[in-house]
Each structure stands twice: as structure tokens, then as C-alpha cells.
């Protein structure tokens, strides 16, 4: 088994699938024009971008392809949506509602706005990571201009009631943005049916390239620019478009949406196989997230009596790649803000690891990973000063 590698961190990023790569390759050296140039090289590149835009618009059921704006990734799309909409609509009010479990791209954008004088409400979540609708209704004020709630949480995989939240936003004449980076390819997204005004997506979570994402912005809405500097993206986002990545993104989205239910079904089988093996062999564990309303690829488990980062490193030394958002991977030394918001006590939160499966994860991968996991947990518990007897 020595030298075997198993990648269970697909929520962090995925490999680029060969179909996607094939779509990208010619754009590096053959169809290399700048889509803004008016000569034939430029027009070729421009048509590649148009096709990708059409594919993405179709995949999320946007009314018009020009509602898709390419960005450098999910974080830029989040920053742009939150800051750009806040600035464009600040004449109406300066209150924004978001949740306490958002990605830091949204949370940190909000804290910048706070410094500028905006007022932000961070909604609590229940123990499964769901935003409470009653709390949302309670938080709405006359000067609320934007609600930004993520579609799927990246740490625990809980799916929010996006459609309901968007409906509430519109009944109160408020804009609705959602970070759908983890939702794309995992849950059906229909921006018209779900009444979404703005939506952030990224390529590298769905077997596309890194450094490429998009913001969907419903036509007719105003947004302030985040990046000035050219006529690209209808004057709303300066910078020469990353044509190879965009070509790959378009293909990746098309495949992700086409194969959505097949993939989720496959991931469900792998997840359940993994979980039953873990449950049979390891005591004192907690599964985080919603028991039903969840994506199948993400599995967050807290292991009592041990700390997540040391578990991650032991697994890594045996070739199994997972992730933790607890204390030690970040510089903050604070337990994950998501688990904290879900009310999970610090000591349990510290022992949390996220396993995220991909479309090529096999049962043999799971067999190996679980074997390594059992040994690693045993090893760390043997040297833990926290004893079962001492547990509360």
C-alpha cells in the first residue's frame, strides 16, 4: 500500500477533466487572440468566450447570456457582488443581511463595507447550519438593500433554502445574492425560478481550471465596478479575458449540469460506504451538517479527543489528502467560524476534518483511506490527555 495516494479534498479543488482540458488547449497557442481585438484572431477568441457564456447561461437558466460576467474566480465574484451592489444601491439604504457561515470572500467584503459605514446583520444558523427564516424576517429593515446567503456551505455541505430566502428578499424589495460556488454541479440552479439577482460561481470546483469564475447579474440591475480598466464585459469588469480558462469553464459547467444527478448518485454511494466503515470502526464521532438537506460530496466529521490538524497531517503522511478549517490551518488559531456558528463546542470543533469526494473516488480509495484513518485516530487518541472518562 506504500506510496498510494487518495485525494479526498474535492471541495477545495478538483483536477481538470480531460474533456475540459481538450477544450482549453487550442486556446493557448492556436486560438490565442485577444477577444477584444477586431481582427480575425480576436473574433475567433471572442466566439470562444461567447460559447462559454452561452453554456453557463443555459446551465443556470439565465434569461440572457449577457447576464454572465467572467471574473478571476468565486472570491472576486463574491467581492464584486457584495461591494458592487452595496455601493450601487447605497442611496436606498445601508443595511445588508448575510449569514455567520458565509465564505470569507463574503464575510470579509462585508467587514470592509462596515468600515465604510454600512450596517451588516450576520444571521445565526441552527445546529445543522441552516439559516432560520424567522430570524431573517426579523432582521429585515426599511434600509435593507441586500441579502447574501450562500447556496451550499463549503465546510459541512448544508443546502440553504435559497428560493424561500430570495422570495422573502423580493417581497421586501431587497436584492438577493448567493455564493453558489459549492452548489454548482451539486444542486440544480435555476436563477429565474429561484429569483436570484446575483450569483457567484467558480470553475475549479467542477473539474475546470483555477483562476476563473463568473458573476451572474440579472439584467437591469446596477452594480459598481470592482475592477476598472477597459471595455471588457460590457465595461463592467476590466482586464483581458482568460480565454483558455473561460473555454474550460464553459465546458466544465455544461458537463457538471448534464451529469448532476448521476454524479450525486455516485457520490451518495461512496459517502455512505465511507461513513458506514467509519462508524463501524471508530467511536466518539459526530457528523456535522444537515442529515438530509446536504450535498453528497462533502462530509464533515468531528473526532473526539483529537485535534484536526494533527489528524490531517497523519493522514497526509500516508497519502490521504483531506482538509480542516479548524484552528491550525488558518492563522487565527480559532475553531472554524462555521462550526462555532452551528453551536459545536470548541473541543469537538477542533477535532473536525472534512472529507470531500470526487467523481473518480473509488471504493478501493475509500477502503485505503478508512484503514489509514482508523490507525491515525487510534494513534492520536493513545497520546491524548483528554480521556473518554473525562468527556462531558
Amino acid at each position: 500500500m506504500a506510496g498510494r495516494k487518495v485525494y479526498l479534498d474535492n471541495a477545495a479543488t478538483t483536477y481538470v477533466s480531460s474533456e475540459v482540458l481538450n477544450e482549453m488547449l487550442p486556446c493557448f497557442n492556436v486560438l490565442f487572440g485577444n477577444p477584444n481585438s477586431i481582427h480575425s484572431f480576436g473574433r475567433e477568441a471572442s466566439s470562444i468566450v461567447d460559447r462559454a457564456r452561452d453554456r453557463i447561461a443555459t446551465a443556470i437558466n439565465a434569461k440572457d447570456s449577457n447576464e454572465i460576467y467572467f471574473t478571476s474566480g468565486g472570491s472576486e465574484a463574491d467581492n464584486w457582488a457584495v461591494k458592487g451592489l452595496a455601493h450601487a444601491y447605497s442611496f436606498k439604504g445601508k443595511h445588508i443581511i448575510t449569514s455567520s457561515i458565509e465564505h470569507h470572500a463574503v464575510l470579509d467584503a462585508c467587514s470592509v463595507l462596515e468600515k465604510e459605514g454600512f450596517d451588516i446583520t450576520y444571521l445565526p444558523v441552527d445546529k445543522y447550519g441552516l439559516v432560520n427564516i424567522a430570524e431573517l424576517l426579523h432582521a429585515i429593515r426599511k434600509d435593507t438593500i441586500l441579502i447574501s446567503i450562500m447556496s451550499v456551505n463549503n465546510e459541512v455541505g448544508t443546502i440553504q433554502n435559497v428560493k424561500t430566502i430570495a422570495k422573502i428578499a423580493h417581497e421586501n424589495n431587497i436584492l438577493f445574492h448567493t455564493d453558489a460556488v459549492q452548489a454548482l454541479g451539486a444542486v440544480k440552479i435555476d436563477v429565474q425560478d429561484m429569483e436570484i439577482d446575483a450569483l457567484s460561481i467558480s470553475a475549479h470546483k467542477i473539474y475546470g481550471p483555477k483562476g476563473c469564475g463568473a458573476l451572474y447579474l440579472k439584467n437591469g440591475l446596477k452594480i459598481d465596478n470592482l475592477i476598472d480598466g477597459g471595455s471588457q464585459e460590457r465595461g463592467k469588469r476590466g482586464g483581458t479575458l482568460n480565454v483558455p480558462a473561460i473555454a474550460g469553464f464553459g465546458k466544465a459547467v455544461e458537463i457538471a449540469v448534464r451529469d448532476l444527478s448521476v454524479n450525486q448518485q455516485k457520490l451518495k454511494i461512496i459517502r455512505e460506504y465511507f461513513l458506514s466503515k467509519v462508524r463501524d470502526n471508530i467511536d466518539y464521532i459526530h457528523i456535522n451538517g444537515h442529515p438530509q438537506q446536504k450535498v453528497q460530496g462533502t462530509l464533515s466529521i468531528s473526532f473526539e479527543m483529537i485535534e484536526g490538524e494533527s489528524l490531517l497531517m497523519l493522514l497526509d503522511l500516508d497519502g490521504v489528502a483531506v482538509s480542516t478549517s479548524s484552528a491550525c490551518t488558518s492563522n487565527s488559531l480559532q475553531p472554524s467560524h462555521v462550526l462555532k456558528a452551528m453551536g459545536i463546542e470548541d473541543e469537538i470543533a477542533q477535532g473536525t476534518v472534512r472529507f470531500s469526494f470526487g467523481k473518480n473516488t473509488s471504493k478501493a480509495d475509500v477502503d485505503y483511506a478508512v484503514e489509514v484513518l482508523i490507525n491515525s485516530v487510534k494513534k492520536l487518541r493513545a497520546i491524548s490527555p483528554i480521556t473518554k472518562a473525562g468527556r462531558r
Binding site: M305, I306, E307, E309, S310, M313, L314, L317, S326, A327, C328, N331, L333, P335, D346, E347, Q350, A382, I383, S384, P385, I386
Partner: protein, 134 residues
């Protein structure tokens, strides 16, 4: 992020585990900040005959406690009290900046264990005194 040396100590800590017959135990840290270190000592005639540890924490915390045990084994109590976090750090070679507190905590764990030893002596001498007075 971690050097090979830190990882190899973390993976195979020589001094990991509790100790039967330990006559001093020091515990520092709390689970909220992510690290708990417990050092067990066997002290005879003022000399640390043996040291072991149990740690809840990251790689740096586990490696730091293991190194701390190495550094005090065979030393007199006085010399063990002189062991600093810098010495722990030097053995490890390098630590990410946000992990330096782990070496500091290891120094504190040594001091806590020795402190526990003195407390135990004080208690037993009080007991002796009581029995003589009676």
C-alpha cells in the same frame, strides 16, 4: 508548512504516552485554543529519571512536547527549569510563525510538572510534620 524534522518527530514521538509511577504531572493549555499538553515525570534524588507526555494539539504541539521531554531527561530539577522554548525551537529547527506558541507551551508544561513535584513534596512533608506533632 512543516519541516521534515518536525514531521518525523510528530510521526514517531519517542516519549508519547502516560507513565505509571510518575511522581509529577503538569498540564497546560485548553482545548478552546487547540492545545493541551500533559507532561509526566519520574524524579529521584532531584534528577529527572524519565519524562513522557500526552498532547491534544497540532503537529507542532506534539513535536514540541516530545522534544521538551528529551531536553529534561537526565537533568537535575534546577537545570530542567532552565530549559527554554528557544531550546525546544532550536531542536525542531523551524516552526511556522503561528506555531511558535507551541514551543512556549512546552516550556510551560515542564515548569508546571516541576511545580507539581514541589507541591507534592510540600504536602507529604506537612503530613510527616503532622504525624510527628501527634
Amino acid at each position: 508548512m512543516y519541516s521534515k524534522k518536525v514531521l518525523s518527530i510528530f510521526q514517531n514521538p519517542k516519549n508519547a504516552g502516560g507513565m505509571k509511577g510518575a511522581n509529577a504531572i503538569g498540564k497546560v493549555g485548553n482545548s478552546a485554543c487547540g492545545d493541551i499538553m500533559k507532561i509526566y515525570l519520574l524524579i529521584e534524588n532531584g534528577i529527572i529519571k524519565d519524562a513522557s507526555f500526552k498532547t491534544f494539539g497540532c503537529c507542532a504541539a506534539i513535536a514540541s512536547t516530545d522534544v521538551a521531554c528529551d531536553l529534561i531527561k537526565g537533568k537535575s530539577i534546577e537545570d530542567a527549569l532552565k530549559v527554554t522554548n528557544q531550546q525546544v525551537f532550536d531542536v525542531l529547527g523551524e516552526l511556522p510563525p503561528n506555531k511558535i506558541h507551541c514551543s512556549v507551551l512546552a516550556e510551560e508544561a515542564i515548569k508546571a510538572a516541576i511545580n507539581d513535584y514541589y507541591k507534592r513534596i510540600e504536602k507529604s512533608s506537612k503530613k510527616e510534620k503532622k504525624s510527628i506533632d501527634n
